[in-house]
Subunit: 353 residues, 2 copies
């Protein structure tokens, strides 16, 4: 059996129900009105159940930013040229990008991964070298990649999780993306799964104008009509209208879930990857957290399909893992809320209710 199938098979619902119940009880008895820390309480209980422990320590926080290029950029779907993709990978390595700054604040490490950048990186560059091919094909003309390449990209994501865990215990994983043009395949993916109209799911990406947006919608419609991806076959969707980094992002979610590691996905592209992962392995959702709600309109439909509520809405539309990094701080805080806020009994307030 392949690495992908093996890993999907190994995802178990290992959430600890007893710890979950104990967490709910502790939250209800803390010296505050019941439920008054809202979403943070829900998250803290789910993290406790995942980790099997009330006092969860998210010490080692890792963000992996998967990069890939897109043949469909030839159709004028982005403001930026494709050579920005490798330049941003160097920027991640040099710690100068947005995700580096936000991750540093959150106490998280960022590592870039080359899933399919159209550039040859020096093998000594400290990134995950997982190139499947030099960018996808232009999906208005041919499938973005072959079925084998799609599987390979997901397996590369799984391998990254395994390599990270071989070096150290990973307490939480965040996913991020870099790839000029990659809101286009991401919108195509949610369109393929949901069957909703492309115009309802397509946003301005890096900031294109009305004319370019109309063109982008037509480009996605053309790709979907040409290849007719099967929504019941996530690999088919990924291969026909997806991206190599999106496959990698799906692999990160599957790999993390298989190891019982909570995983937090970023914006439109990371969530497209998470969607591929959860269509392949629905149990992976138990380990998955949605970070922010992007300005990109397709994002909300992805969250609906995943059944996840994003934590924050700061009007981000950047990717890289920036939203995941912000929310990693909030997940870390959630662990403290559950473990450190005292109960009425612990503080000696006994005359309530």
């Amino acid at each position: 059996m392949s690495l992908l199938n093996n890993t999907i098979e190994s995802i178990k619902d290992s959430l600890n129900e007893n710890v979950f119940e104990a967490a709910i009880e502790r939250l209800a008895n803390q010296a505050k009105p019941a439920g008054s820390l809202g979403i943070m309480e829900d998250i803290s209980a789910r993290l406790a159940a995942i980790k099997g422990n009330i006092d969860v320590q998210l010490t080692n926080k890792q963000i992996v930013t998967c990069a890939g290029d897109h043949g469909v950029v030839q159709e004028g779907v982005s403001l930026f040229p494709s050579d920005v993709t490798p330049q941003m990978v160097y920027n991640f390595v040099n710690n100068g990008a947005s995700v580096n700054v936000i991750a540093r604040h959150a106490g998280a490490m960022v590592t870039a991964a080359d899933l399919g950048v159209n550039h040859d990186f020096d093998k000594n560059l400290p990134i995950f070298h997982k190139k499947v091919r030099h960018g996808t094909a232009n999906f208005t003309k041919e499938p973005a990649m072959t079925r084998q390449e799609a599987i390979r990209s997901i397996e590369a994501g799984i391998e990254i999780v395994e390599e990270l865990c071989a070096k150290q215990e990973v307490d939480i994983l965040g996913t991020g993306d870099m790839g000029i043009g990659n809101t286009t395949p991401s919108s195509a993916i949610i369109a393929a799964f949901s069957g909703f109209k492309v115009e309802k799911l397509t946003g301005r990406g890096t900031g294109i104008d009305d004319t370019a947006l109309k063109n982008k919608i037509k480009v996605i419609e053309k790709g979907l009509e040409l290849h007719n991806p099967d929504p019941n076959d996530p690999i088919d969707v990924l291969s026909k209208v997806g991206g190599l980094e999106i496959g990698g992002l799906a692999g990160l979610v599957i790999g993390a879930a298989a190891k019982g590691i909570p995983v937090i996905c970023d914006g439109l592209i990371s969530t497209a990857g998470a969607l591929i992962a959860c269509e392949l392995a629905p149990e992976a959702k138990k380990y998955l957290f949605a970070s922010h709600k992007s300005v990109e309109i397709g994002h909300t439909y992805m969250h609906e399909r995943l059944g996840l509520d994003p934590l924050i809405d700061l009007k981000f539309r950047l990717g890289e893992g920036t939203g995941a990094a912000v929310c990693m701080e909030l997940l870390d805080l959630a662990t403290r809320i559950l473990a450190d806020i005292k109960t009425f009994e612990e503080v000696g307030i006994t005359d309530v209710q």
Copy 2:
């Protein structure tokens, strides 16, 4: 002239326009799509303008949690009895409360302040001892406090800022509240200013049921009808249907603005205080940030009146400064976003747009 009038007079629009313009330019040139970090960019530029510096360091973060009791609790508006107020003050001092846990995560100090708790604290307890009286009167029968007491409560808040600043440089101030029953005066305050129906502005506080909510609405209506507070006279509103800690919270905002310190307000009660402050001193708004959107329905109307957008909506309904503490981390992050994310030029990406 009184401390209050003097302090209001001394609030200047000291925001540095040149630094603001430089911040906007830097954000636009950073290696990311323009505006793609959304609200965080807006905040970072405003903080830079307040501090007159692109590289803002929010090193010393202080949260002051103002406590007071409420005579109107006699009318059955809260799930909890009034003696929980002093017990929670001790809990703040002992670092076991929700705000302590969240502030610790944010690297902020929390100090409680007694503005009007119905309990005599030992003078050595490390809190701000600013008791104006032992709780307000029941405003369904008489004004909550006298006009002089209302002014005194605001001045106490101003004094707290001065005392904090005498000890050390304060880089950012967060406001929080504790006072059983205090969503009732807070809803009354926004009703008095807005003229909107009380039922539109009144929530469940600590978690009261439908019957108790109907009663709470009637209690607020009764107070407003009995005293007819003048919406053009914020001191009148505060004295007739307000709270002593709400006066203190107004004073914190006025005091911080007078010193050019950014101040972030928490939930319904803190924002009621901020509203009193900004009705008295509209220039104070320039220094004010809204943290979260509370479950309490009156909160949104306060934000609208203040012209401020809250940063997050995590379904909090706790107070204490918990939302302010969460958002202090985000404000701190905003300073890093502006200062530390490199521009396209700095990272050598020159072929964009």
